[in-house]
C-alpha cells in the first residue's frame, strides 16, 4: 500500500523549508492537513502533490438540472411498517 500521508517534518524536508514554515501554511489553510492530536498533523500525500503542482485551480460551475423529483439519499431504512406486515 502506497504511503498516504506525510508529517510536517517530511514536508519540510521535501520543500527545503523549516517545519515552522510548513506549520504556518497548514494554519493559514494553504496546505490541507488532518490534526490527529494536539501536536500531531498528517498531510495527505495527494494534498501535498496538489499544493506543489503547477496546475491552476479549476474554475468550478454548478450544473443545474430540472427533474420531476429530487433523488432519495442514502440506503433504504427498514420501516416500522415491516413489523405491521409480520404481525
Amino acid at each position: 500500500m502506497a504511503k498516504r500521508f506525510y508529517s510536517p517534518h517530511d514536508v519540510a524536508v521535501l520543500l527545503g523549508v523549516s517545519p515552522t514554515t510548513v506549520m504556518s501554511r497548514i494554519h493559514d489553510g494553504a496546505l490541507p492537513a488532518v490534526r490527529v492530536s494536539e501536536r500531531i498533523y498528517r498531510i495527505p500525500v495527494p494534498a501535498f502533490e496538489r499544493f506543489v503542482s503547477t496546475r491552476p485551480a479549476p474554475s468550478f460551475e454548478i450544473e443545474y438540472r430540472r427533474v420531476g423529483r429530487v433523488k432519495k439519499l442514502g440506503e433504504p431504512i427498514a420501516t416500522p411498517a415491516d413489523d405491521l406486515i409480520e404481525a
Binding site: P44, A57, I62, R65, R66, R69, V70, K71, T79, P80
Partner: protein, 158 residues
C-alpha cells in the same frame, strides 16, 4: 444549517474546491437537481486515483429546502468515503428524518465498514455535522488512518 441563495452557491463551490486542494479530481463538477417542490439536491463527487491501482471516492450529497426571503435549509445529507484500495467505507448520513427517528431512534446515523459490504452493524449512532467541510475533514482522516477505522468502538443502532 441555513444559507442565503448566494451563500449556498458559494458553499457548494467551496466543497468542490476543498476536495480539489486535497488532491481529488471533481467528476463533472458540482451538480444540482431541483424539482417542482422547490427542493434542490446537490452532489459533489471527488475521485482519487491511487498509485497502487484502484481509486477512492468522496461523495457529498445534500438536499436543501427553500425558506422565505431567498434562504435555504439543509434538510438531508449523505457524506461517503469509499476506499477501494483498502476495501472499506465510512459515511455520515442524515436522511428520512421521521423514518430514521421511528426506526432507529436517531435522526442521524453513520456507516462504518472495515470490509465493504460486510458491516458488523447497519447503522451506528452519529452526530449531526454542521456542514460538508467538516465531513471532508472526517472522511479524509478516515482515509489516512493506517489501522482499523474503529467501527467496533461505535454504538450500533440496529
Amino acid at each position: 444549517m441555513i444559507l442565503s441563495t448566494q451563500s449556498l452557491n458559494q458553499y457548494v463551490l467551496g466543497l468542490a474546491k476543498a476536495l480539489d486542494t486535497r488532491g481529488f479530481e471533481i467528476e463533472g463538477g458540482p451538480v444540482a437537481e431541483f424539482d417542482p417542490t422547490g427542493h434542490v439536491a446537490y452532489s459533489v463527487v471527488g475521485v482519487l486515483d491511487e498509485p497502487g491501482g484502484g481509486h477512492t471516492e468522496i461523495i457529498l450529497d445534500e438536499i436543501w429546502r427553500p425558506l422565505p426571503e431567498r434562504r435555504w435549509e439543509r434538510r438531508e445529507y449523505t457524506y461517503d468515503l469509499v476506499d477501494r484500495p483498502r476495501q472499506r467505507r465510512r459515511a455520515f448520513h442524515l436522511h428520512d428524518r421521521e423514518l430514521a427517528e421511528a426506526a432507529l431512534r436517531a435522526v442521524v446515523h453513520e456507516h462504518c465498514e472495515e470490509r465493504i459490504g460486510q458491516p458488523a452493524c447497519q447503522h451506528y449512532l452519529g452526530r449531526e455535522l454542521p456542514d460538508g467541510f467538516q465531513a471532508i475533514d472526517l472522511l479524509v482522516a478516515a482515509w489516512l488512518e493506517p489501522g482499523d477505522l474503529g467501527c467496533a468502538s461505535l454504538i450500533c443502532l440496529d
